[in-house]
């Protein structure tokens, strides 16, 4: 029991069991009604492959939104370690974090003012 990596190994095994179990169960239990949309590759927002009719182009709005999402995604990653050690870090880190979040919000203000959030 003094081997620290044994729980990690258990977790890994549990993950495999869960993944295989879910897929297997849905294979056995799930209804099987196939149509065209169901057979296409799953991709949210845009057509999975560029259509020749539109000149092979994909709308750029999707990428703007995705990019914006990633910015806030990354921001929250940096917030996690700060939150975990908040007690020890004290006021200095709080100020640093506020500055960091403000910087990200400047980018947000830019996107908002320049029409990056208008879908139409």
């Amino acid at each position: 029991m003094n081997e620290p990596y044994v729980p990690v190994l258990f977790m890994l095994g549990l993950g495999f069991v869960f993944a295989a179990g879910s897929v297997g169960t849905s294979l056995v239990v799930g209804p099987k009604r196939y149509n065209r949309a169901k057979l296409e590759a799953y991709e949210c927002g845009i057509q999975p492959s560029p259509q020749a009719s539109g000149g092979g182009r994909v709308p750029i709005k999707y990428y703007l939104t995705a990019m914006l999402f990633i910015i806030f995604d990354v921001e929250s990653i940096f917030l996690y370690p700060f939150a975990v050690a908040f007690n020890q870090l004290g006021l200095f880190a709080l100020i640093e974090m506020v500055l960091f979040v403000l910087t990200v919000f400047v980018a947000y203000a830019y996107v908002w003012r320049r029409g990056g959030l208008d879908w139409a």
Binding site: V84, A85, L89, G90, A107, W112, R113, G115
Partner: protein
Amino acid sequence: MTSVAPQGLPAVFQQSTIDYLAILPLLIVFGVAIVGVLVEAFVPRDRRHMVQAGLAVVGLLAAFVAVIVAAKHQGLTMGITDGASDRRLFALAIDGPALFMQGTILLLGVLGVLTMAERLGGVGPDAFTPSGASTPGSPFETNASRAGALTSEVFPLTMFAIFGMILFPTTNDLIGMFVALEVLSLPLYILSGLARRRRLLSQEASLKYFLLGAFSSAFFLFGSALLYGYSGSFVLGDISKAISTGPIEMNGLLVPGAFLVFVGLLFKVAAVPFHAWTPDVYQGAPTPVTGFMAACTKAAAFGAILRLAYVGLDTGRWEWTNALVVIALLTMVVGSVLSVTQTDMKRLLAYSSIAHAGFVLVGVLAFDSKGVGAVLFYVATYGFAIIAAFAIISLVRQNGGEATHLSQWAGLGKRYPLVAGAFAFLMLAFAGIPATSGFMAKFAVFSAAVGTGGATGTVLVVVGVLCSAITVFVYARVIVLMYFGDPPGDTGDAANAVEVVVPSVTTTFSIAIGTVITLALGVVPSALLDLADRASQFVR
């Protein structure tokens, strides 16, 4: 309140000491860049260009003053001294080389911004496109501008790039170095793709630069990971200590780690064999951006190379010196020889910049403070000359577009003696002819290498002098072409003639300053040489 530290975290956090006056230049440039983004969001459209350009120039000058203030606050900052293991874990080193590079980059940045602000009577910066998909002067472009697509974003982008550049030579650990590398690179990738004319060439250049740059960043990261595996630290001083106290178990990681990290940095200065992007990107990028990139990126990257070679990996020198010597030789030879065959002015200067990177590497390989001073001096003089040269190239035009083919420059000296004279003088500076700053710079670098480099230093200098002779031919050919060549298509067709457009006061200023400094540093170099010499000590 009793606070229980989560597992793996130290019970007591030691707050890092930060000398805010020492990092004031960094804070100012970053702050101005952020304000620039806000200006882009909230200032009315018709005033944005002036506000942005003014803000950038004032910010850069303020940061330059801050560098002078920071010179009194030299030392390691932003980190802790670990009492238990007696390690000095600091992220930034504010010392002579860092401050010299910062000052150089900030002044060059002012000239670069002034050149980018050139409007030539138009509404926006002339070199940049508001809409990458439409041809210049077309109704599509007008529509895009009317819909709000403007080009004043180039100023905040440039400020972010300059922030990365002045951070790069200051960083004292590999993580910081990587962050600075990315901060300076990402805006440059975008700026390279924004040309208004020859858009496809520009967009291609941008994509090539991005892909190869991302690749070289990956090399740098991989190398950092290996060096961490070797030494257990990202801090340069720790790595140096680990090398000198070795051998340890992970001995095999040192050499590949050092090489990979060097690859990432040598890519940025365009050393052979990591130079392939340079001609394409220099040719495709908007000309003011090319000048800015050639001057400032080189300065920043050589600052980082110096710190890595003199502070981080100095104790393991015998492992990598020979490889760097070969790279320096290759860079000088390939850059000079290939510049002979070029027919495009921007590509010619790109290969010339490769050759210059080789000459600077000779100074790096001198491995003493004299070499450091010579490198600092060289990078500064080259920066002023190359920014002025590219500013002049952006003025020579045919039918509104830039005329960069050599044949189009024929006979320029007869019709525009002043501009051609300035360009010819800058060419002489690149060639290293006495009475120009180029001569003093080469002299400083080569004498440092002969003085302390031993036999390898002598070989490097002999090859360097031979390569200089080759490049003299290249530059002389341009001068002869300008003064003794016949203008292309001299049929009296005034509409198609190659002309030098009259720039606004900003571009005129940066050309004049670049040329005057090139002359001044060739005639009375001692002030800057002394400054570079006094700034040649690294703090560790």
